[in-house]
Point group: C2
Chain length 149, copies 2
Amino acid sequence: MQRTQFGDMACSIARTLDVIGEPWSPLILRDVWVGLNRFDQLQADLGISRKVLTERLGHLVEQGVLERHPYDNRPRYEYRLTAKGAELVDLLMVMTAWGDRWLAGEAGPPVLYRHHACGEISGVDLRCAHCGEPMHAGDVELMPGPGAR
Amino acid sequence: MQRTQFGDMACSIARTLDVIGEPWSPLILRDVWVGLNRFDQLQADLGISRKVLTERLGHLVEQGVLERHPYDNRPRYEYRLTAKGAELVDLLMVMTAWGDRWLAGEAGPPVLYRHHACGEISGVDLRCAHCGEPMHAGDVELMPGPGAR
DNA sequence: AACTTAAGTTCCTTCAGGGAACCCCAAAGG
DNA sequence: CCTTTGGGGTTCCCTGAAGGAACTTAAGTT
């Protein structure tokens, strides 16, 4: 489909989309996060075409989000989150929160998170890294940063 | 390219991708958020094909993320975030945080956020909605919820 | 030697994205 | 009144990415 590359834009959203914006990539990341680390597991769970899965895994490894790791002393590999990839899970947790709230309907959320620190079933909330107060769409003012063009 | 629909999966991530997972959609949302509300503004800023922009706007309106709003008493329309859409901006802020941290490089972040509550330049952090402690990839345990299949 | 399994690779078809040209409508200008 | 302008799309064709099934390779296993 000759898709436009977003990576060149002076925008962290566009650049992030260049890493995980392709179809399937967030779901692959989710699966690896929950312990589906191997090619055939991913393919079976997602129902994705093997060709596309190969492409996506290659891209995610190239971007440093996943690591390809040999096991069993033969040509077998499993995929693991890097630190860079683990921080992307934040994004998945926010997507989950929004989907739970707006799309789950009567049935309720398909998955629940239990927070280790407090032991409660809970979800994420966005806070200011500086003062700890809530930080959402209307709570901020945008200003040009050093990397602006 | 006959893309697979994710909306049927019992997964809030997949369902959310069905709403804003298509190429360009998050960038359209970002632009509307920062005040580019009209068709031609969006088209010029993003460099997106007019055809695809029409499709995306239609889909976002249909999903209740944007509202199409007449102005000027003639066939002119502008797009605004609904409450549902405004909460999606959380997602954009987390994408920004990750992109700033991992992809901005030497130049630094292209855009800075000033938090109204404290007046400081800051970014978002994920906290547990229940206890307020940090909540990231390793801090939670997943459990089947009521909407599981 | 034949079978199995994991991890891809190849090949073909179909449909979505890019891009440019075109269209419609309401106001403004002369 | 007639033409121009400008916003907001629609139409068309072309390319290339996603789907899907078959094939391949390399190392065990029976």
